[in-house]
């Protein structure tokens, strides 16, 4: 019998994804809905909804708006808080084969550190994805925009965890490679790129923004070429594994990210269109 090639993706610190295809943060909740719709355990990783220290109610509606080939969202990090995730959600992941990586968000360095500490002893948590780039709340994005601040944040989180730290990068910067290098130098094990692009939609009859906060995060196939360019730049800049995310709709658009050097991918908005997209990407990649 011929030996099968290894398809696992080693992200560091013992986190090996069974395959490169994951579900992007904010498009899969904490997995419980999609677990009823698709065979989650065939996928490599689930990156949870952005999780903060305290519960967050989220932004006023409308929270989503459709645009050409994409959608804007302004959810506002609605989540139950890290204590609920650790105590009530994590035990439900115990029998899952898919690696659950908790996306941690915050408004302050202390909040990121606190969340990471709460999750540190939770066995079901496979890793931490630091969301330094949510465009829909104030605070978090500042870390993602400034290489020095991003490095300081990652250094502080690095000091309190032995787990694999993946840093999710914002594309809403001048030099994403510079931020990527800074978080690598500060101890990140991997980076994921990119989060959503800041976008705006006008309700034409009134001339006002559809989203009450004025802007939201743009995702969907419209951003795939933009994300691909950003991921290529990040891959050239760092040695740690890069996870490509942004507008993946099928295996071909996922392969583009692997072609520029990404080691894994995340399927996001396309899951809303078809919950089976990530499985189709996995099958199409033949990994």
């Amino acid at each position: 019998m011929t030996e099968q090639p290894a398809v696992g993706v080693d992200l560091g610190r013992g986190l090996v994804l069974p395959n490169p295809v994951g579900l992007a943060s904010g498009t899969a909740g904490y997995g419980f809905e999609l677990a009823q719709l698709i065979d989650l355990d065939r996928l490599g990783a689930l990156y949870t909804k952005g999780t903060t220290a305290a519960p967050r109610e989220g932004n006023p509606p409308p929270r989503v708006a459709e645009t050409g080939g994409g959608m804007l969202n302004s959810i506002g990090l609605q989540n139950p808080g890290v204590d609920v995730v650790a105590a009530e959600y994590a035990p439900r992941w115990r029998d899952w084969a898919i690696r659950v990586i908790v996306n941690v968000a915050g408004g302050s360095l202390d909040e990121y550190v606190h969340c990471t500490q709460v999750l540190e002893d939770v066995a079901e948590v496979a890793g931490i994805e630091l969301n330094i780039s949510c465009p829909n709340i104030s605070g978090g994005l500042d870390f993602g925009r400034d290489p020095a601040e991003a490095g300081r944040l990652v250094g502080a989180v690095r000091a309190v965890t032995e787990r694999c730290i993946i840093v999710k990068l914002s594309p809403n910067v001048t030099d994403i490679a510079g931020v990527a290098r800074a978080v690598e130098d500060a101890g990140a094990d991997a980076v994921s790129a990119v989060n959503t692009y800041i976008g705006k939609k006008i309700h034409r009859p009134t001339g006002r923004s559809v989203l009450p906060l004025g802007t939201g995060g743009l995702s969907g196939p419209a951003i795939q070429p933009l994300a691909l360019a950003a991921v290529a730049a990040v891959c050239d800049a760092v040695h740690v594994p890069v996870i490509g995310v942004g507008g993946i709709l099928d295996a071909a658009s996922a392969q583009d990210f692997l072609s520029v050097g990404a080691r894994a991918v995340q399927v996001g908005t396309a899951t809303f269109v078809n919950p089976e997209t990530a499985l189709q990407v996995l099958d199409g990649l033949g990994v």
């Binding site: 009823q36 109610e57 708006a65 459709e66 994409g70 559809v210 419209a222 709709l249």
Partner: protein, 282 residues
């Protein structure tokens, strides 16, 4: 609490007909055996509109009725997605994800009052059919729209037709001139066991005000099917937040797709809801 999605499934169905049922109202009939077998009154399906990336997201449609292995959906061609649906031809395929959402609480006896505004007619044929199957015969339909051409035809609410359909139009082109909420008074005198409503949010707010102002003793089941701009339809994007009241009377966000779309009208924060733009803005 995690939504129960165990009945939901992806399904590609064959279009049987897109029928104009009056004015701009269209009825799409698709062979969708799974949805037809599992949809309950008030649940919905996420339909893909076209095969491209614009429009990208599925659109939620109440299951209007089921018959054998087919399902009916009622809509108007008002946006990019519904225009594509309106152009479907018999034999074309429609991609459905459903049934989704939390439907109406079904009562075991009448009388029952159904209040429909415009395309809010959509969930009532399946509801009325199910209520009749349970032996509820005393069903009153109050049907309102902006103008006569946008009234869902009375005979389509039930087969055989529902005996009482009182109509109202904003412009007085048919029935009572004014809001359908103004027709509630006589219907309430029958001491209904349930009141079900569906329509634009302002119309539902008017119904709730009319119910409260009537002074009548109201039944435990007063429910409305609500709408909100929706991303996924199955509880993961958190996009379709609606303002509801918590146990202490404070306002909390609940998801239209999985907590609703049918909500107890007593639990809706009508003031906050009235300040939101309609689902069509997004």
């Amino acid at each position: 609490m995690t939504a129960d999605l165990r009945r939901a499934a992806l399904e590609k169905g064959e279009v049987l007909v897109v029928e104009r049922v009056g004015g701009g109202i269209l009825e799409l009939v698709v062979r969708l055996p799974h949805l037809a077998a599992t949809a309950m009154p008030g649940t919905f399906a996420q339909l893909r509109c076209g095969n491209g990336t614009t429009p990208l997201l599925r659109r939620p449609f109440s299951v209007a009725w089921t018959h054998d292995d087919t399902c009916g959906f009622v809509f108007e061609a008002v946006g990019a997605g519904t225009r594509l649906l309106s152009e479907l031809q018999p034999g074309d395929a429609v991609d459905s994800l459903g049934p989704l959402g939390h439907g109406f609480t079904l009562v075991e006896h009448g009388p029952v009052v159904c209040v429909s505004g415009g395309l809010g007619c959509a969930p009532f044929p399946i509801l009325i059919n199910e209520l009749r199957r349970r032996g509820v015969e005393d069903i009153v339909v109050l049907n309102g729209a902006r103008t006569a051409a946008r009234l869902y035809p009375a005979e389509r609410f039930g087969r055989p037709a529902v005996s009482v359909v009182a109509e109202a139009t904003d412009d007085g082109t048919r029935g009572h001139r004014g809001s359908v909420a103004e027709l509630l008074g006589p219907a309430l005198r029958s001491h209904p066991a349930a009141i079900y409503a569906c329509g634009p949010n302002p119309m539902l707010g008017a119904v709730m005000r009319a119910l409260t102002a009537s002074g009548a003793e109201l039944p435990p089941v007063i429910e409305a099917s609500l709408e909100a701009p929706m991303g996924c339809g199955f509880g993961t994007c958190l996009g379709c937040a609606l303002p509801m009241l918590d146990d202490d009377g404070g306002s909390v966000w609940r998801l239209c797709c999985t907590d609703g779309p049918v909500m107890s009208m007593r639990g809706v924060d009508w003031t906050a809801l009235s300040e939101l733009p309609g689902a069509d803005v997004a």
